[in-house]
């Protein structure tokens, strides 16, 4: 499934093959929370934005419109109009971050819907059944994402439970994939490494879950507020324990610089709401740094957001026009900004892949790390 093509330092250039198509890695997964990218972007638009993989949220889709409806509609691919790979998260992260009044037991978690307060139970089996109904390409294991920082003892206890949950996830997925009327009989399962910022817990947990020989492994519980150096340290700590022949996914990361740093530590897959969320506030990413399009200096700027950008927005629209759209609260402003930012992220990954192929990733990193998260000077 995962083929390593080239290594440059620890950075990996690979190909990850799924029933819905092959993903060139490192890759960024474009987040379509409720089955649509925020900012009015459809799956058909994504085809023009170099998107390889969509990521949808199990928790949101379970609550609305409901995974049984999506199953009835032929699965998520058909429902949202995307034929390529889709990864669904397990719902765990949202249960622990969005839902109210949650109660964790060995069986799973009882929580209240953030939409209507309705009481819902989700455990490993429920998460797998929902994801099976959605018929995504890759399902994520149901885990507990502990707060950061969390006490050592609690983190350890939680890790152990997450490991027991992983066995239940695998068993349930095996059963579901074998059903005659399952949407995607080849649904893959990724395990998730936890352990807060404790290196021994992280390593121990990774060693345990690798034994299950899953389709891929994720590092979870990072990018939840801890300093970037802690995140980089944890990645460097667990990476040697991740199988070399499986894709590695750093969940919820991150800024362009975070991504470059993580690639240099051996990570292959990423997802983050940042390109779309920041776009909606007028923050546009470019290879010269961040353009805040609302800034008055762009009032009469006829140039595109980025002069070296081939995206459908930069080819057609000026900074002056996009700034006007934001000032006039025109929805089109957000749409154009999100399109540009997703194109930027997907192009960033493309350039990362090229640099690894050419053996120049270190130079690439040295060139872009100092500027990509800073404000564009021009």
């Amino acid at each position: 499934m995962y083929k390593l093509i080239k290594k440059d330092g620890k950075a990996r250039r690979g190909e990850f093959t799924t029933v819905h198509g092959t993903v060139q890695t490192p890759a960024f997964m474009n987040v379509a929370t409720a089955g649509a990218i925020k900012g009015g972007i459809s799956s058909y638009d994504l085809k023009n934005l170099k998107c390889q993989v969509e990521l949808c949220n199990t928790y949101h889709l379970h609550l609305r419109p409901g995974d049984t409806l999506i199953r009835e509609m032929g699965g998520l691919h058909r429902f949202i109009g995307w034929a390529g790979p889709i990864l669904t998260d397990s719902g765990g992260f949202q249960v622990f971050s969005l839902a109210q009044l949650r109660k964790i037991k060995e069986e799973g978690v009882t929580f209240q819907s953030h939409i209507d307060g309705r009481k819902i139970f989700m455990g490993p089996e429920e998460s797998m059944r929902i994801q099976s109904n959605l018929g995504s390409t890759i399902a994520m294991a149901f885990d507990e994402c502990v707060e950061n920082p969390a006490p050592y003892e609690y983190s350890k206890k939680s890790c152990d439970r997450t490991e027991r949950w992983l066995y239940r996830c695998k068993d349930e997925m095996t059963r579901l994939n074998a059903l005659h009327d399952t949407i995607n009989p080849n649904q893959m399962l990724f395990g998730i490494n936890q352990g807060c910022v404790y290196e021994d817990l992280r390593v121990q947990h990774m060693e345990s879950i690798v034994k299950l020989d899953l389709d891929g492994y994720a590092i979870g519980g990072l990018a939840v507020g801890e300093p970037a150096v802690d995140m980089y340290r944890i990645i460097s700590t667990v990476e040697p324990y991740m199988p070399a022949d499986k894709p590695r996914y750093l969940m919820g990361v991150g800024t362009p610089v975070n991504i470059i740093e993580a690639v240099s530590r051996g990570v292959d897959l990423f997802d983050c709401v940042m390109p779309s969320r920041n776009a909606r506030h007028g923050h546009m990413f470019t290879f010269n740094g961040i353009v805040n399009i609302i800034n008055a200096k762009y009032t009469n700027d006829e140039r595109p957001i980025a002069e070296d950008c081939d995206c459908p927005v930069c080819k057609n629209h000026s900074r002056a026009y996009i700034r006007h759209l934001f000032k006039a609260n025109e929805m089109l402003g957000m749409r154009l900004a999100v399109m540009h930012n997703l194109y930027f992220y997907n192009t960033l990954m493309e350039r990362i892949r090229e640099a690894i192929e050419e053996g120049t990733f270190e130079q690439f990193k040295e060139r872009y790390v100092p500027i990509l998260d800073k404000r564009c000077k021009d």
Copy 2:
């Protein structure tokens, strides 16, 4: 400029030639108030929606981003990325409907901006200068749009003033078009017929303004709350006094049925916010009537909004998915709905043109008037 190709009853199939392209009439102008269609639709999207003419609002663009900025950016066509014909209204309608604390004098109108309360003066010359800065294909004369109903005496006084304003508009436009650095030296001017619902005032005013031999004539002051029968009566009353060799524009109209009825009375051009505004509330137009996509019966409906529709939305998305997007407050829902509705309106005009060409417009009218404004049964 206007060439009558075929008449069927009073319905006219024509070609209206401008420096920015030829418009096949009857035609519906797509409303891009502040230089963008509401719902996140760009000028580039409009090319796939059979749009022939964009309409932008002088009042809105004067306030934000300012017509001098748009002039500096090379004019409205370049600013918004639309090479085809653009009609700008005069600002008069918005001054009388949106602005606060207005004071009308012979010179023009003083009013407060609805955005920041700033005091602004606009008269015929100001309106022409703003529209000249925008560089639209067609400028509308600055008029007073009186309330409906308005007293006879006030309507008469207002008509006379609107006529005097028209002479000033024409003089100022002639001067502006002759300037060496004008954006569009071929900018056209349409006059606007007023007179409330008083037939004698309407006819008298139309006879007066026809003498100026303008590029086209509009019927204004209708569709502002009066019963449809009054609107149809006024159109039928003034139409015989409109020049046959000029395009005729019914401002701010309307529902699909209003448009068919007006075409049958000899009108060529229309504009209305209805397709985009209704779309944003989930009301979708089809040739079988109106689909309210939020209706629970569409929850698991895999069909497109309209099965006979070739629009980019109906070719790709199901009712179930679009309904889900509306329920989940995803911006994409509005965008898809607006795209479909604009495509519907532009297709309606195409079918009207075909019916006139084939001499079957009366049958077309009989078939569609009873159903288009009603709820779709299926």
